[in-house]
């Protein structure tokens, strides 16, 4: 196992390096510099600014500086937010994103898996149809439409929930969490349903039934673990897509999290901020996918590592 872990970790390094390099090159190729603004800066000042940020150096030196700083955990300073380092901006935004996203993820897993199990055991029941309905809704109505409609319904027409300046209190978190949960529940539920139905029709479950075990025991003891495997594989893509969802949700509800920071940075052409965020998120998803693979290997005894 330790050998496998080490191999996988080392395997992730080229991926991350490619991401960093592509981002860096892309930003270099982009037209316009960070100091091209409406107000002209005198050439001397511009030269000083560029020297300060090493922009007067050749490309490979800039790349070297950046990699070196990155290795020391320093993402550089923001080009737009005065007196802010990217690290500080991230440190402010990360807890907000983590709180909203974490609660939403827990809820979606809890509700989605339960719904999937019930739907699989009672096919064609009301809950089964609810799951199907949610799935259809989710595949057709984009989340950035569901979100505003939720706001329209629960903040404007029926002012039950606050809307506007976000703060980390339950009342403000309800709608974003509901939105993120709605999106994920149908996917998780449908995969869980399908895989449990398949497992429940396999011979070893028939044996368990023939022994006269109660249904609860059959499901919880025997069927659940193999049925969870496809769900575990789903977690990787789910994490990837939840990045896009976070960007949307945070823009929609004015949540000062990582996603909103990214969009604002992109709109302001804040080179270092966007670069830092993209790298951070990419590393996080690569590591998460790694964890999922390892969990898969641990859960499925047929997989050799």
């Amino acid at each position: 196992m330790p050998g496998y872990l080490l191999r996988r970790l080392l395997g992730a390094i080229p991926t991350i390096l490619v991401v960093v390099s592509v981002c860096f090159l892309m930003l270099q190729l982009a037209p316009g510099g960070p100091f091209d603004s409406e107000r002209k800066v005198s050439p001397e000042v511009l030269a000083n600014l560029q020297a300060k940020y090493h922009l007067d150096q050749p490309l490979y030196r800039q790349y070297g500086y950046y990699l070196n700083n990155l290795l020391h955990g320093d993402l550089g300073v923001s080009f737009r937010y005065a007196d802010w380092s990217v690290n500080a901006l991230v440190a402010n935004a990360l807890p907000v994103s983590a709180a909203v996203g974490g609660v939403a993820m827990l809820l979606s897993l809890l509700i989605g898996l339960t719904l999937g199990i019930v739907a699989a055991l009672k096919q064609n029941s009301a809950l089964d149809y609810l799951l199907m309905l949610l799935g259809n809704l989710g595949s057709a109505v984009p989340s950035f439409v569901i979100g505003p409609v939720l706001i329209l319904l629960f903040c404007l027409w029926r002012p039950w929930l606050p809307y506007g300046q976000f703060s980390l209190s339950p009342a403000y978190m309800v709608l974003p969490v509901v939105l993120l949960t709605l999106i994920n529940v149908s996917t998780l539920g449908r995969v869980m349903r399908g895989s449990l139905i398949e497992v429940m029709s396999s011979p070893f479950i028939r044996t368990a039934r023939a022994k006269g075990l109660p249904l609860a025991t059959i499901v919880l003891r025997h069927a659940l673990k193999p049925a969870l495997m496809p769900v575990v594989t789903l977690l990787g893509p789910l994490a990837v897509s939840s990045v896009a969802q976070a960007v949307l949700t945070e823009t929609l509800f004015a949540i000062p999290g990582l996603g909103r920071l990214l969009v604002n940075g992109a709109l302001n052409r804040d080179y270092t901020l966007v670069l830092g965020l993209v790298i951070l998120i990419a590393i996080a998803t690569v590591l998460f996918n790694l964890l999922v693979d390892i969990a898969y290997a641990l859960l499925d005894p047929r997989i050799r590592y």
Binding site: C23, M26, L29, P148, V243, V263, A266
Partner: protein, 298 residues
């Protein structure tokens, strides 16, 4: 499934012996009411966004100063109301739909070209080349590609052309995987072996014998890709990184509607309904096609 290319002239549907796979597929699709209805709706929507803007009394960028933020109704010919600049919402919705659908189709075309080339070469070459190419696809799967679309759009300006490229470039991964799988099974078939024995070059083998036999599968997955591309486009536009004023797309309209939804909810709801309806129907058509052409998946 790979026998689609050798389709025969279609016999009448009630003659059981000697039905071609295409005829079978068509029959299965006809039995799928939801898919048929969706196809009809989708065609109507397509027709509306292509022809509609020419028939309307208002242009999409004309400002009607006598009707700012007017609610839907018959007044002044603004059936779907106007926005805060007095522009007709129906005209804007149709023009936006034109852009969204165009982006969906062109982005998918780009994805098809890259995906088919990548998958066919990878599957055909096999060995180390295959392993390397597919490893690259795996790596890209693990990255949130939305980020790169956002990066591309911001740093190279927000042009429509670039948007096609960005969307196509992030949508080809599934296509590549599917095409590779098909190529692997085609590669060992007799007709390919025969062609190889005749001394056909590798390039011609791929272009003449492998790719044409992939078309059925590719067509199906292309229809599934279109709504996804439309969705990604509208997300980008919604974030302000996509289509720019005065042109518009459904994502832009939803975003504008969301900004004004307390005073003018119709501006959110109308484009939202159009977008959702299109995605819904496109998904149904795609699923219907897949079921019709690939009954094994059921």
């Amino acid at each position: 499934m790979c026998r689609f290319a050798d389709s025969h002239p279609t016999p009448s549907p009630d003659a059981p012996p000697g039905r071609s796979p295409w005829a079978n597929a068509r029959r299965r699709y006809r039995q799928n009411r939801a898919a048929q209805l969706s196809l009809l709706l989708l065609l109507l929507l397509g027709l509306a966004v292509i022809v509609g803007p020419w028939l309307l009394p208002h242009r999409y960028d004309d400002t009607d100063w006598s009707a700012l933020s007017q609610a839907p109704g018959w007044q002044g010919g603004h059936w779907f109301g106007t926005d805060d600049l007095g522009r007709d919402l129906l005209a804007r919705t149709l023009i936006g739909g034109r852009i969204s659908m165009l982006v969906g189709v062109l982005g998918t075309l780009i994805a098809v070209v890259i995906g088919v080339a990548w998958g066919a070469i990878s599957g055909f070459a096999g060995g180390k080349v295959d392993a390397l190419m597919m490893r690259l696809v795996d790596v890209m799967y693990a990255l949130p590609f939305m980020l790169f679309a956002i990066l591309l759009m911001t740093f190279f300006g927000r042009s429509l052309l670039l948007m096609f490229v960005a969307l196509g470039a992030i949508s080809w991964l599934d296509m590549a995987r599917i095409v590779r799988g098909q190529t692997l099974s085609l590669k060992s078939r007799e007709f390919v072996e025969a062609a190889r024995a005749l001394g056909v070059t590798r390039r011609a083998l791929i272009m003449r014998h492998i790719v044409p036999n992939l078309l059925g599968v590719v067509a199906v997955y292309a229809t599934v890709t279109i709504p996804n591309v439309i969705l990604t486009e509208s997300v980008l536009s919604f974030l302000g990184l996509g289509v720019q004023e005065p042109l518009t797309s459904w994502g832009v309209l939803v975003q504008e509607g969301q900004q004004n939804m307390s005073s003018a909810p119709w501006r959110l709801l109308i484009p939202a309904v159009f977008l959702s309806l299109t995605l819904y129907c496109a998904n149904f058509v795609g699923d219907g096609l897949r079921d019709a052409l690939d009954p094994k998946d059921r």
